[in-house]
Amino acid sequence: MNKKRPVNLDISTIKLPITAYVSILHRVSGVFLFAGVAFLLWMLDASLDSQEGFNSIRDLGANPICQAILWVVLAALAYHTAMGIRHLIMDFGVGESLKGGKTGAWLALSVAVVLIVLAGVWVW
């Protein structure tokens, strides 16, 4: 295979549609979550370890930094999951047209925003 094939698509000249933004954010949130899960697993570990550990996780709100980390991780999880479910629906062939793709992107984005706000209310 010729390794120096020409690249004709100069994406910097293209205005991105909503579907492109939700897609790249899905990627970013996925990469972030690979690290973020460490925080969730740490919480599970501490909460199951002892009564003191359980209390410290229950009272996580006493530490604003932990609170903020938890919210960011939950936000990424909510966003990635909402977009992931959109993916699964599209894999079943629903909403694959240009219009359907855009509608779905807005819908999943709205769901994600609501979930992220709810997660914030829950954490604080």
Binding site: K3, V7, R27, G30, V31, L33, F34, V37, A38, L41, L44, D45, S47, L48, S50, Q51, F54, N55, R58, L77, T81, G84, I85, H87, L88, D91
Partner: protein, 123 residues
């Protein structure tokens, strides 16, 4: 058919399916935990521990953990093979990508061992 030795299921179709099944399992686990915590606002330590002491909960957690690792491996493989490419950065790309995958593998195994310790270490 294009094959790659560093993918997960050794073919794009397997990877595609494993990634989706893993996503669905993780979504189910997330929803389960959220619903459980919302339904039990006065959760006690004993109650929480006894939930994780049940075999089905351990299996559910382990399956989720395995889903997480395979899903993330496949997903991060896709990311790495998109950006750390010979076209974008020359011949050092392959070396960098393999190095990144070794690190990822180490992190993934650490997650697995840690997770198993958490759910089977309950006393």
């Amino acid at each position: 058919m294009v094959t790659s030795v560093t993918s997960f299921g050794r073919s794009g179709l397997y990877d595609w399916l494993i990634q989706r099944v893993g996503g669905a399992v993780m979504a189910a686990y997330t929803i389960f935990i959220v619903v459980y915590l919302v339904l039990n606002p006065e959760l006690t330590f004993e109650q929480w521990q006894s939930l994780y002491n049940q075999l089905w909960m351990r299996v559910f957690t382990l399956v989720t953990l395995l889903s997480f690792i395979s899903h993330a491996w496949i997903g991060l493989w896709a990311v790495l093979t998109d950006y750390l490419t010979v076209r974008l950065m020359g011949s050092k790309a392959t070396f960098l990508r393999i190095f990144a995958q070794i690190v990822l593998g180490a992190v993934a195994v650490t997650y697995l061992v840690w997770g198993v310790q958490v759910i089977w270490g309950i006393n």
